[in-house]
Amino acid sequence: MRNICFYFQVHQPLRIKPYRFFDIGEDHYYWDDYSNKSIIRKVAQKCYLPMNALLLELIHAYKGQFKVAFSISGVCLDQFEAYAPDVLESFRKLVATGHVEMLSETDAHALCSLKSKSEFERMVGRHKDKLKKHFDGYEPKVFRNTELIYSDKIGAMVAEMGFEGMLTEGAKHILGWKSPNFVYQNAIDPNLKVLLKNFQLSDDIAFRFSNKTWNDYPLTTEKFVTWINAIPKEQEVLNLFMDYETFGEHQWAETGIFEFMRALPGAVFKYTNFGFATPTEAVRQGTPVAKIHVPTPISWADEERDLTAWLGNDLQKEAFTKLYELESKVVKIDDPDIQRDWNCLQTSDHFYYMSTKALSDGAVHTYFSHYDTPYDAFINYMNVLSDFILRVKNKEKELAEAAE
């Protein structure tokens, strides 16, 4: 059986408010509640609510033959809980059908897998707890790391935590002549199966769908199933991974993206020999063809598919280093505010805003940032981090005094 495996990423960072030098030592609340709330509400109306309704309709219509997977970051779940309980409820309904899989990830959509095994495990644990709480005791079996970041070592850590599979990018430079449309194995621990994103077909939907200068515009389901049929017979799994906000937010409703998705399952069933599978089904049913070797980390971002969008320049490296210098101190502090801030300051988006990559991907970077320049993003983040460092120091002092 050949399968299409849909995975949608749902994430909204906890954005930092404009925080000035004068606020350091004085104002310990960093988060921009107003813009966080209004963005959640806006995206809920444009994407989450209508698309969840559509998916529910399709699952019912095809009696469970159509299925998808989600990964929802912990910081996003928290914001749904606070600002959009209706969205959370609609996700619950989807999961309750039994045909929607929830993936495990880091609670804060963080980059900690690159820096600290212990923090990585803590974050995955926290996210697991949230899935359990919100989705009726749900236990995830497959892991997806922030921005599909993957390396042999990260895969091994994930295997150690007991996951059966992991998702990543089908990056050209690691695949070479190989196809992403098979199940692979982690190079260190072969028990972990690896699913690779088919970025050609995924990005046809996610990025190119409404691009009028694209040769294949407009994209129709007829065209898309022709491409699916062109996949060689022996290749058994087509991984279509994308941001959930593709539907209605990146690609507006006016582009016809919802109609495309409504028609796609029918066209797949009618014209191809593909069905649909969740990641867990895909890794269990597929026969692993080989180990995939990824000595240096890859991601799904930009042309290079590497880490340079978050850790490419000196600003990002400085912020990242200074943040993780705090880990050993923060873990000893039992204070809910400090723990929340420590968690949310690790979100990858804060580092993404500091990117100075200005070539082909500059436009994408600008689209996703609310700062005028990466320098503004850095200055604001460092002001907040400076205050956070002071708080951690003060708490440490309190602890030391209490111990005496």
Binding site: R20, F21, F22, D23, I24, G25, E26, N313, D314, L315, K317, E318, A319, T321, K322, T373, Y375, F378, I379, M382, N383, L385, S386, I389, L390
Partner: protein
């Protein structure tokens, strides 16, 4: 004496330090019973009524006057290569040059209309406004009685020259800054040419410091006998009590100014690193904006001191006062500063200052540490010393505020009046 004075801006509507200095000088002159006609390109109506203000935007020009044609002929060189505008960053500059390349045909026409609405800003039409301002100056010189003409900086020099052409009265050109201060060795030729034309046409040149006087003589070829020094002063020497509170436990060392080549921000960054290597109990703040800001941010990250070195962006009003007030040391590492009023503001907040020897203010402020702008080791030493050895910081605080009281605009104006008198007698 009746003085016809040409400026570019006047408080409260100022974008540079020039307006503040003009204000102080006019106040001082009024104190000595001088009669002043002050001309600015644009009046806003809320200027303090110290002088007979003339709004250049309101002046109608009669082009039948033969002399205007002669003046315009002399001004045409302004039009030849006026792509260049000071005080703009590279991006704005590019926008301006694009504009200038494509839209310049209209300039003659609008300059020659009977009335012209000046923006009075340092914007893209600066050269057009400077030329037009000169024409207006001629018209004013014809209609307003005066005994002496006084022009402030290059923007008003063509106006001064034109007025002198009409009335034949002696001209004083006041140099607050030169193109060498703004651009280092890569000077903008058209601006330099205007500065030079003004200084040579003037009967007397006034420089804001000995440093600037030297530049006038060596770089512009002005005869030494023709240049005198008039240091700037402060409007109010009282100590400013502030309720601003510092919220961080560390000491604060501050740079406050435009983040441009002239102000030497990179030396401050390098010195900060040297101090932080030895002393963790200090934060550095760079307040201001400018074309070198991003490069400074990158350098701070590269040196790994992002959590101890902060940027505030452009500050104004109360934020400026608060910044001075919560600072433990103020540093002005200017590469070239004709005068530099900011350190005096810091003294008014009881903040000890470190200033570069390449600043005019170093000539009047004795109770400050003076270093060469490039000497980052010396700067780091001085910062460390002022932070740790209380006696010297305390001494600077006490003596600095005493010194300030002597820097009065009345004294400056008195000297200027003697210059005027000498010129009108000749």
């Amino acid at each position: 004496m009746k003085v016809l004075m040409f400026g570019w801006e006047f408080p409260p509507h100022i974008s540079g330090g020039l307006g503040t200095a003009c204000y102080g000088l006019v106040k001082g002159l009024v104190h000595h019973k001088q009669d002043i006609i002050f001309v600015v390109p644009k009046l806003w109506g809320d200027e303090e009524p110290l002088a007979d203000f003339v709004n250049a935007s309101d002046v109608t020009i009669d082009y039948r006057e033969r002399k205007f044609k002669k003046i315009w002929k002399n001004l045409t060189y302004l039009e030849v290569s006026s792509f260049l505008v000071p005080y703009l960053g590279p991006e704005e500059f590019k926008k301006y040059t694009d504009y200038a390349m494509h839209d310049r045909v209209d300039i003659d026409e609008s300059v020659f209309s009977n009335k012209f609405e000046f923006s009075g800003k340092y914007g893209k039409d600066l050269m057009k406004e400077v030329s037009r301002y000169a024409l207006v100056a001629a018209q004013i010189a014809k209609s307003k009685e005066h005994e002496i003409i006084h022009a402030h900086d290059w923007l008003a020099f063509p106006a001064g020259i034109a007025a002198k052409e009409i009335s034949g009265k002696p001209l004083v050109c006041h140099v607050h800054a030169t193109e060498f201060d703004r651009s280092g060795e890569s000077v903008n030729k058209p601006v330099y040419d205007i500065e030079r034309a003004g200084m040579l046409a003037a009967d007397h040149v006034v420089a804001v410091s000995h440093l600037t006087r030297k530049v006038c003589i060596e770089r512009y070829g002005v005869h030494p006998d023709k240049v005198s020094v008039l240091h700037n002063a402060v409007l109010d020497a009282s100590i400013i009590k502030s309720d601003a509170k510092k919220h961080v436990p560390e000491k604060i060392v501050t740079f406050l100014g435009r983040i441009t080549f002239q102000k030497g921000p990179e030396y401050f960054v390098e010195a900060a690193k040297k101090v932080l290597d030895r002393d963790d109990n200090v934060r550095f703040v760079m307040a201001g904006s400018g074309d070198l800001l991003n490069r400074m941010v990158e350098r701070v990250a590269e040196l790994g001191m992002g959590t101890k070195f902060h940027f505030t962006g452009f500050l104004k009003g109360k934020d400026v006062d608060d910044m001075y007030a919560i600072s433990d040391v103020y540093v002005m590492p200017s590469v070239s500063e004709p005068f530099g009023i900011a350190p005096l503001e810091a003294v008014r907040h009881n903040t000890p200052v470190i200033i570069s020897k390449q600043s005019g203010v170093a000539e009047v402020l004795r109770n400050a540490i003076k270093i060469d702008f490039w000497d980052v080791d010396g700067m780091a030493d001085a910062i460390f010393g002022l932070l740790h050895y209380e006696s010297i910081a305390k001494m600077f605080k006490e003596l600095g505020s005493e010194e300030l009281k002597k820097l009065k605009w009345e004294h400056v104006a008195a000297k200027l009046v003697t210059v005027y008198e000498k010129l009108t007698k000749e």
